[in-house]
Amino acid sequence: MKKTEKLHEPVFQIAKRGSMVWYKSWAIRAVAILFALIICALFITFITKTNPLKVYASMIEGTFGSSRKIWNTLQNMALLLCISLAVTPAFKMKFWNIGAEGQTLIGGLASAACMIYFGNKVPEYMLLPMILIAAIVAGMVWGVVPAIFKAKFNTNETLFTLMMNYVAMQLVSFCIVFWENPKDSNTVGVINRGTHSGWLPEIFGQKYLLNIIIVIAITVIMYIYLKYSKQGYEISVVGESENTARYIGINVKRVIIRTMAISGALCGVAGMLLVSGTDHTINTDLVGGMGFTAIMVSWLAKFNPVFMTLTTFLIVFLERGAGEIATKMNLNESVSDILTGIILFFIIGSEFFVQYKVNFRGKHKEEVK
């Protein structure tokens, strides 16, 4: 046997942690955010030669700077939270619904259609429920179709829901041709600009307040649904183990279809909030990627609707704040994307340290002695 050179133990080893007390895991996350902010600061100073503290101040300024900005922040949060809540039951069931973008868009399309064809013809108190129902049904169809195929033929839901996004987008492009206003502008323009027919009403003089209230209600209902209802329990069981679900007699196919109907319907509601409650128009960029961001919000909060308000706030704050510094410091939009990326990288990376422990060479020996 050849004489081996002096052997060392491995430089580091990774071991899974047992359970962890909640304050420790939150401390790890807080440290991660702190690190992220420091790295971002170094990055900004390096690029712009400005004081990073100033940059952070303007991020906060961009989010909370004026009452209009606060309302906008809340409104952005409400919409993102609504879509996040929509995808949550599906992901909790381990159904990889990446079609929230399309489900929301088609809900928005249905709302716009109702506003255009029935606006000013049907009384408001009937029109708004009509819009709501149309949006819910449209979103539901977009959610249920992949679910039926998954349940009956075990097709891949990720690809299916993704492709449904493109179908929705093409449908919207097609409708824009009919609804163009003014002609040849290739946009729909603000629907019912004069009469505000089919617009969600302002309450207490705030145009977004109703949106926000609706989403708060959905948050509470979703929390109760997932935690305390029989259907929510079935979703957890199917998500954790389909075999267990079959073993106790849960009809797995029915649960998949039912859950995706709920998921799609809520996306439809989000579409209505976007069209009837916010933009009052429709275009292919209506949802603007929120359908994908929502997945991150939902996972970061570990599917807990209450935590989701926090993760939504974090994402919206990053987006708005980064947008603000981009304009103020005369930087490109990409800089804000880079900053958002750095911060998310640290937050998601911190989960590794919550789950695992890293032991470095030699360290534990001293500890023992």
């Binding site: 071991a15 305390y228 209802s229 183990s241 267990t244 534990h364």
Partner: protein, 516 residues
């Protein structure tokens, strides 16, 4: 060389988080010696062996090979030190032949030469008396043949120190005998052999020395010739235990579940059960024996409504009315709605019987969550059931709100069996209910099954330890390749007879006989 031990461990310690898997363990094996490492499940046997074979790295302690200290950081280091491990779960490529599997992963400079490898394999086989065809594909092999391939694989790589992790768990008594003969031959050839096991009689018949671990701690090493079963058990458990299972006589029995000519095909289109007929009676324990994968799982799942039945009948006889109900082609929910109180403890506890990430209360609810007319869950009853089971079955858990995956194997099983018994079943099916459990937990489970038997429940028990089957059951049905070899009285049949029945269909085609 005979004076220096082949492998020596000194004060090995390994912790996972706050769990101490091994604490100051010292072992020593000479060339030409067989050492048994004995201990209950969870006592740290496998962790210890994984440190020798380079899968884990010890926190503390030293390893010496032939008197020289070595550091084993990876399986490759272990292999360079001529250490070979045969794992409990085989690591073979199904579509490759024996010889191809054996040379797979060797980085020889020469080209991939299967022919000369086959010759060398045959030579090794002849030396120790293995029975192997180097060109046979792995998917055509029986479990014992696959194990042979694994052993030859490490010998081919020149291993001098062999570690076998629970090698007999999947073998019939006859195959075990054969394996032991081979191991003795290797010992006489100067190999150092370590065998991990928790079966006492195997330890006594095979090894020269026995090292005992208990809860990660090293208790001591004794010479096999100077010890006995009772002493070893005491070392293992830490207190005296009586190893007798009481078996009461069957009283007031009547037919409860009649299965006739059952035929099932699995998803791949392979016959998994053919012509299975038997009757389970109230107040008795029907044992099902067979090599793993002989159709035991499919049989129980077919009865529970989880496996599609091609042909045949499953009839349940209601204990009160005497009415016959057909269970074939019914879903689990329909079976429950018919009022059939069928409880099932499946083999895969955390993958089927329970949900690992849910707490004990929510797992109690699996059977009962549909109760009540509202759309909301009632957690009160499941909570009190959870508390009751924790107290009565002595489940070790921080609270009823701890996710079950955090519990140890024995406690997980107590939760599952406790829930299944709580619905006062008339038929109770249990698949390998003591697999992975320590001695005390195992006896708790046996007692629970006996209790159910006395209550007049028809118990169906699928087991792997033939000694236990013979002691616990009233009748034993032996399955072999999806067919019933025989149904025998457990009080008169011997272990060897069962062993022969277990491989019956693999020998030639024997005419069916289904007396008894």
């Amino acid at each position: 060389m005979t004076n220096t031990p082949a492998i020596e461990l000194k004060n090995i310690t390994k912790t996972f988080g706050s769990v101490v898997a091994n604490k100051n363990v010292s072992l020593c094996v000479n060339h030409g010696e067989i050492l048994s490492v004995l201990g209950e499940n969870g006592s740290g046997k496998t962790t210890l062996m994984n440190m020798i074979s380079g899968i884990y790295f010890p926190d503390e302690g030293h390893i010496f090979i032939n008197g020289e200290e070595v550091v084993i950081r990876s399986p490759k280091d272990a292999f360079n030190n001529k250490i070979g491990m045969i794992h409990q779960h085989f690591k073979l490529v199904d579509v490759f032949s024996a010889a191809q599997n054996i040379i797979l992963g060797l980085d020889e400079e020469k080209k991939f030469d299967v022919k000369s490898a086959s010759a060398k394999v045959s030579e090794i086989a002849a030396r120790y008396g293995f029975n192997i065809d180097p060109d046979k594909k792995v998917y055509e092999m029986s479990v014992s043949e696959k194990q042979t391939v694994e052993i030859i694989k490490v010998l081919y790589r020149g291993a001098d120190i062999l570690i076998l992790d629970e090698p007999t768990a999947v073998l019939t008594p006859q195959e075990t005998k054969k394996l032991f003969a081979i191991l003795r031959k290797m010992r006489d050839d100067g190999k150092a052999i370590i065998i991990i096991t928790h079966k006492l009689h195997e330890v006594l018949s095979l090894s020269d020395n026995v090292a005992v671990l208990r809860k990660g701690e090293y208790i001591g090493t004794v010479k096999t010739a100077e010890t006995n079963e009772a002493e070893l058990t005491e070392m293992m458990v830490g207190k005296k235990v009586s190893l007798n299972i009481e078996r009461t006589e069957v009283e007031n029995t009547c037919d409860r579940l009649v299965v006739k000519d059952l035929h099932c095909i699995n998803r791949e289109g392979v016959n998994v059960l053919s012509n299975v007929s038997f009757t389970a009676r109230s107040g008795e324990i029907l044992g099902i024996a067979g090599i793993a994968g002989s159709g035991q799982r499919e049989l129980l799942e077919a009865i529970a409504g989880l496996q599609h039945v091609e042909n045949g009948n499953i009839t349940y006889i209601d204990p009160k009315t005497g009415e016959e109900e057909n269970l074939k082609d019914k879903t689990p929910l329909q079976i429950r709605d018919m009022g059939v109180r069928l409880s099932f403890v499946p083999e895969d506890r955390l993958g089927m019987g329970l949900v690992g990430n849910m707490d004990i209360v929510d797992n109690m609810m699996l059977r009962s969550y549909r109760k009540g007319k509202t759309a909301f869950l009632q957690r009160k009853e499941p909570k009190s059931l959870a508390d009751e089971i924790i107290e009565r079955l002595e489940v070790v858990t921080p609270s009823a709100n701890t996710p079950v995956r955090r519990l140890s194997g024995g406690n997980v099983q107590k939760v599952l069996v406790g829930r299944e018994i709580a619905s006062s079943p008339t038929v109770l099916m249990a698949a390998y209910p003591v697999r992975g459990l320590d001695i005390n937990s195992s006896y708790t489970i046996y007692n629970l099954l006996n209790e159910q038997k006395k209550k007049g429940v028809a118990v169906i028990f699928v087991g792997e330890d033939l000694d236990v089957l013979l002691e616990l059951c009233d009748r034993i049905m032996v399955l072999s390749g999806g067919k019933v070899s025989d149904i025998a009285d457990a009080r008169t049949i011997t272990k060897e007879e069962i062993g022969l029945l277990m491989t019956k269909s693999q020998q030639e085609e024997v005419p069916e006989n289904e007396e008894n």
